[in-house]
Structures are given as C-alpha cells and as structure tokens.
C-alpha cells in the first residue's frame, strides 16, 4: 500500500505532469512523438533490410524505398566507411590507431594526470598512432597516406591538428597581449585574418597553392598539406580561447610574480600559463569538439575521412540513393564522440566552478 502511495507521489512529481499545462502538453506532444517514433521504428527496424544476397544487386532495398531502411549498405560497407581504402588484411592497424586516440581522450579525463605526463601522452600516443598507420618499421608494411581513411583519419586530423596548433596558439595569445607593438600587430593580423575566412578557403589554399610555394620536385603529401592548413587555422581559434584565459587571471598574479623579481618568461611559464591552461580547459574542450566536426571539410579537397568514406560509398551504382542510411550511421559515430566529450566538458565546468579559484591555483602543472 505504501509502495503504491510512493509510486503515485512519484508520478505526481514527474516533470511532465507537474501541473495542468504540463499534463495537457505531454498528452498532445506525447501522442505526436509516439506516432513519429512508431513510424521511425517501422522504417528503421521492422521493414528494414539488413542484408542482401551475396553478389546480388540492391533491388530488394530499392523495392523497399520509403517503407524500410536499407541497413545492408552499412553491414556490407561498414569496414570501408570506418577504415577507408586501407589494405583489407591490415585493417587491425587503423582499428589500433582509433584505440590509441580513444585511450588518449580517456587518459585526458584523469585529473591526477594533469601535469607533464598528460603533455607526454599527447605527444607519444598520436606519434604511435601515426607510426602504426604508416608502417615501414617493426616489420609493418608501409601504407602510403592516400590509402588512409575513415575514422582514424578523422581522429588523426583533429587530434594531431589540435596538439600541434597548441604551442603556436600559446605564442599567438601571448603575442597578442604583448607590449611590443610590432609583435602585437603581427599576432592580431594573423588571428583576425584566419578568423575572417572560412576553413574551406584554407584547405583550398593547402591543396592548390602549397605546391607553388615549395621548390619544384619537392612534393608535399596531400594529407600533410591538409594537416598543416588545419593547424594554421586551429591555432588562431585556440589563441583566442587562451587570450580569454589570460584576461581572466587576476592582475595581482602578474604583480606578485614581478615583485618576486621574476622576468617575463619565467613568470609566464611558471605562474601565468599553468593558471591560464586550467581555467581554459572547458573552452578548449569545446574548441576541440568544433574542430573535430570541422575536419570533415577535408572531403572538399579529396581526402576520405569518416564522412568522405561514407560519401564515397554512395558513388557506387549499387548504393546510389541510400544517403540517408549512410549519413545516419556516420552521424551516429560523430554524435557518440562529440556528445560524450561535451558532456564531460560540462561536468568539468561545474567541477572547476565548485572547486573555486584556490584549488585551481595550488595544483600547478
């Protein structure tokens, strides 16, 4: 009896039934959502086609168009979407590279590692992942970058891009707040120039103009060119995040460092930057998510990252017209990464806020 009373109270306290307007809206919108959900389940599960006869066409899928999803395109082509054109028997290597990147993200959430060890991990793990993909050492066969693709390429472009851009961004952020007019001017010009143009123009520049910039006969790998463009672009945005952090440091910190007789570089490296990095972490995570998504733009210069590989599947005459299924699958992977990281970022923001400034300051990197 008491259990029933508890249940009734819980139902009355449920957010969707809090008061009359809530109950009415829940009833109306709930019916609409239930109908939409029903249709979605019908399309995505009940009437869906999960596999096609071997060596056959996609007629069964075409017959079911509009009635049921064609998940056969995913079950048949998932390995291409995830690994790109990487040699089939070597695909444990892209899988391993993904694992390395994911463990890097996981390690970055461990707050006790937030010191030089994290820095070391951000250098070691991406290097290991690139080596694994590249091969040519430890008995691994060499795989040229034009065969790299899928999820590891997306993780590589964003993670290596962010890590490499970081030192440049610190330089730009400090330069923008420098008292030396020439250095400040150069940094402002660079940051504003980059932030004023779309990333796609930078990628075009990398694809079409870089070959004109270097001596003839020296060809720079296309992937490397795209990576350089991403680094140049990300650096300007990260610099602005760090500038926000620099402005948030109380003046007293600079003055205290100066009164100890510390010159510019020691006070910057020992006093200012550790605090800036800590308070900037949530914004840095958000910037990382933004560029994680934006690396998908490399498909306009012909690289096959996760989205590019998905798009490439649709060129096949057998799968033309099944864009919705492929893009939903790819979207699900992006969502899993971005949502996970953004939830972590929110959690971190609350944590750092509750921590207060003192706790932030005492554990310097």
């Amino acid at each position: 009896m008491r259990a029933m009373a508890h249940l009734a109270a819980a139902i009355r306290r449920a957010p969707m039934l809090r008061d009359r307007s809530n109950a009415i809206a829940t009833a109306i919108l709930g019916a609409a959502i239930a109908y939409a959900g029903f249709r979605l389940v019908e399309w995505g599960i009940v009437n869906a086609i999960w596999s096609l006869p071997r060596d056959g066409g996609s007629e069964a899928c075409r017959a079911a168009r509009g009635e049921g999803a064609c998940w056969a395109v995913i079950t048949e082509r998932a390995r291409f979407i995830l690994c790109g054109a990487y040699p089939f028997d070597q695909q444990w290597r892209p899988a391993g590279a993904c694992l390395l990147f994911v463990s890097l993200y996981a390690a970055s959430t461990v707050r006790t590692l937030w010191d030089w060890r994290l820095l070391l991990l951000w250098i070691l793990l991406p290097t290991a992942a690139v080596t694994l993909l590249r091969g040519g050492v430890f008995g691994l066969s060499g795989v040229p970058t034009e065969f790299w693709g899928g999820l590891p390429l997306t993780l590589l472009l964003s993670t290596v891009g962010f890590a490499t851009a970081f030192p440049f961004a610190i330089g730009l952020a400090l330069g923008r707040r420098s008292e030396l007019p020439a250095i400040r001017g150069l940094c402002i010009a660079y940051i504003e120039l980059v932030r004023g143009v779309p990333l796609v123009t930078f990628l075009f520049m990398a694809a079409m103009m870089f070959p004109l910039f270097v001596p003839q006969g020296l060809t720079v790998d296309k992937l490397l060119r795209a990576q350089v463009a991403i680094v140049m672009f990300v650096a300007a945005y990260v610099a602005e995040v760090l500038r926000g952090g620099l402005q948030a440091i109380p003046r007293g910190q600079y003055e205290a460092a100066a009164s100890l007789g510390l010159p510019y570089w020691p006070s910057t490296i020992l006093i200012v930057l550790p605090q800036v990095l800590r308070i900037s972490i949530p914004s840095l995570v958000n910037t990382f998510i933004a560029f994680f998504k934006d690396t998908s733009l490399v498909i306009v210069i012909g690289l096959f990252d996760l989205l590019g590989a998905g798009k490439a599947v649709l060129v096949d005459a057998k799968w033309v017209g099944f864009g919705a299924e492929v893009y939903l699958f790819v979207a699900f992977i992006y969502f899993a990464f971005c949502y996970g990281v953004s939830q972590y970022s929110r959690h971190l923001e609350r944590l750092l806020m509750a921590d207060g400034r003192h706790r932030l300051v005492d554990k310097t990197i």
Binding site: P15, M205, M209, G321, Y339
Partner: protein
C-alpha cells in the same frame, strides 16, 4: 648576504639586451619582423620561380576573359560568354542571398528554440534540448549532405509531391506560384508552375542545392542561437523580474520591458559572430554544388590555373564581409548599450 660589487653592464650578447628593457624590446620586435619578412620573401620568391617555370602568367587579367561555363539560373543573368569577373559576382550574390535568408530564418527559429528551452512545459523543453544536442554534435557538412541526399531522393517531376495547390516538390527542386511583371494593368500576375517535358515551367523555383544549403544553415545556426538566447535570458538577475512583478507588471510586460532589454546585451555579441559563421559556413556549398562564391572560385581556378589570385580574391571578399558585418554589429551593440544607459 647582498653582494655590493657592481658588475659593469655587459656590452653585447643576450645579457646586453636583457639588461636594457628598451633595447630588448627593439631586438625582439626586429627579430620577429625579420623572421616574417624572410618567410614571406622566401615563399614569394619560390612561387615566382615556380610560376615562371610552369609558364603561368600571374595577374588578374583572367577576370576579363570569357568564363565558358554555365551557372544555374539566379538573380543575375549569366551566360557562358560572360566574363570570369561576372561569374564571381554571381557567386558573391548567391553567397549573400543564401546567407541573409539563412540569418533571418535562423534568428526566428533560434529565438523560438531558446524560449522553448526555457519553457515550464517539460516536453517542450525536452524536445528543444534533444534538437539542439543532435544538431550541435554532428558536423554541419554532414547535415548538408544529408539534406541534399533527401532532396535527391524525392520523386521525379511526373510523380512530384503536391502538398498545396500549385506547389510541387521533386528532385529538380521546389516549384511554387510566383509573381510576374506585366506591361499593362494590373502589372502583376501570379504565375503557376506547369509540368512540361522533364520539368516544370513558369512560377518561381528553388533548386535542391539552394534548398539543402538553406535548410542546413538555418537548422544548424538556429540551434546555436537558441543556446545563446537561453543563456542571455538566464543571465538576467532573478531579482529583476521579481522586482518588476512586485511593481505589478504582467508577465508579458516583464519579459518585454525588463528581461529582454537586459538579455539583449548578453545575446548580441555572440549572435553577431554566429551571423558571421553563416556567411563563412555558406562556403560549404562547394560540397553540394550550389554556385556560391567559393564554388565559382574553384571552377575558375581549375579552368585558368590562377590558383593564387582566385583564392586570394575569395579570401579577401570573405574577409571584407566579415569585417563589415562585425563593424555593423559593434555599432548596433554600442547603440543598445547607450540606449540602455548604465549596465546593472
């Protein structure tokens, strides 16, 4: 123990500059400028050498030549005999057209979303939250390709969807009645699209590329603006609306007279940068084949080989749009602050 011996000031080397702040400042700046000049100079020299070796003439002469490609019908007449300069102008107009429409629609949808997120009705705020999370955690380019693949999966003109009388939706685009100007009274008439051959004739139409780009930009930006609006309203001190309520103002007037004017100060700066993002994101049109500025630039540089000039031109135009939009927004922001008097 403090040493009393005074060292004589060093005359050269790193120590010399570190002992004198002004000299050090000059050395650092000269060094930075020298590095930049050397890098830019080396790249420029190498580029000139390469261009000469490949026999590519630099300069903007190509702008005056006939483009030789067609562009889908738009507000500016264009034929393949027109110049590259005119083609790029068509691209710029297309960029501005989709951006401005996207900004307008995204603002309306975004404000609605922001209000929905704050709704007391749980289902409404939950739907808005789910929408925002899905949109914000997937790449915009993916969304564009998704919308475009949906547009392409529509039936052909003969089996076109006909949701309203005179409105047709097929993989060739959206066709709907539009006004046409006439020589005599009443000067304006409504023209309805009619099925003719492999498509529709007459009326007004929207290409599937334009539709996909507009829908993608609008739904994406609206999610961003929705979060900004929500943050702005939440940033207004609760005491403000309580004080207004104590004065006997109605809920609608509290929102309109007290909360919104204060929230606007928080909302406008990030919204301005979202507007800038719409213009920059419209360049993703290149991936679905809508003839925006960057798509036309891409075609131009592929045909003429003038990569540096074409990309520099496109970058300069985007930069110009960005700078003028941010100037306008700063002015508006300043006006709001002035009108509102002192901030709380």
């Amino acid at each position: 123990m403090i040493s009393t011996t005074r060292r004589s000031p060093p005359l050269f080397g790193a120590e010399a500059s570190s002992s004198n702040p002004r000299a050090r400042a000059i050395v650092w700046q000269a060094l930075a400028l020298a590095v930049v000049v050397v890098i830019v100079g080396a790249v420029a020299f190498q580029t000139v050498t390469n261009l000469r070796a490949r026999g590519i003439a630099s300069g903007f002469d190509f702008l005056g030549r006939a483009a030789g490609f067609e562009i889908a019908r738009g507000p500016i007449e264009f034929s393949s005999r027109d110049t590259y300069a005119r083609a790029l102008l068509v691209g710029l107009v297309n960029t501005l057209r989709v951006s401005l429409l996207g900004i307008g629609l995204a603002t309306m949808l975004g404000v609605a979303l922001g209000v929905a997120r704050l709704s007391n009705v749980w289902v409404v705020s939950a739907i808005a939250r789910a929408y925002v999370e899905v949109i914000r955690n997937t790449p915009l380019l993916l969304q564009l390709l998704f919308w475009y693949s949906l547009a392409q999966a529509l039936p052909g003109p003969r089996d076109a969807l006909n949701p309203l009388p005179g409105v047709f939706l097929c993989f060739r685009g959206l066709f709907f009645p539009g006004p046409i100007w006439q020589a005599d009274y009443p000067w304006i008439a409504i023209d309805r699209p009619v099925l003719a051959g492999f498509g529709f004739q007459g009326g007004a139409s929207v290409s599937p590329e334009f539709a996909a780009l507009l829908v993608g930009l609008t739904t994406y930006t609206a999610a961003m603006i929705g979060e900004i609006v929500r943050g702005g309203v939440l940033a207004v001190d609760k005491g403000q609306s309580e004080a207004a309520a104590a004065l006997g103002l109605s809920r609608a007037r509290i929102l309109r007279l007290v909360v919104l004017p204060q929230a606007l100060r928080v909302i406008i700066p990030p919204t301005a940068s979202q507007y800038l993002n719409v213009v920059k994101n419209s360049s993703l049109a290149v991936a679905i084949g809508y003839p925006d500025l960057l798509s036309i630039t891409n075609t131009t540089l592929n045909q003429t080989g003038q990569a540096i000039e074409a990309i520099a031109l496109a970058m300069a135009v985007y930069l110009l749009i960005s700078l003028s939009l941010s100037l306008a927004m700063n002015g508006y922001n300043a006006a709001i602050l002035r009108r509102g008097g002192r901030t709380a």
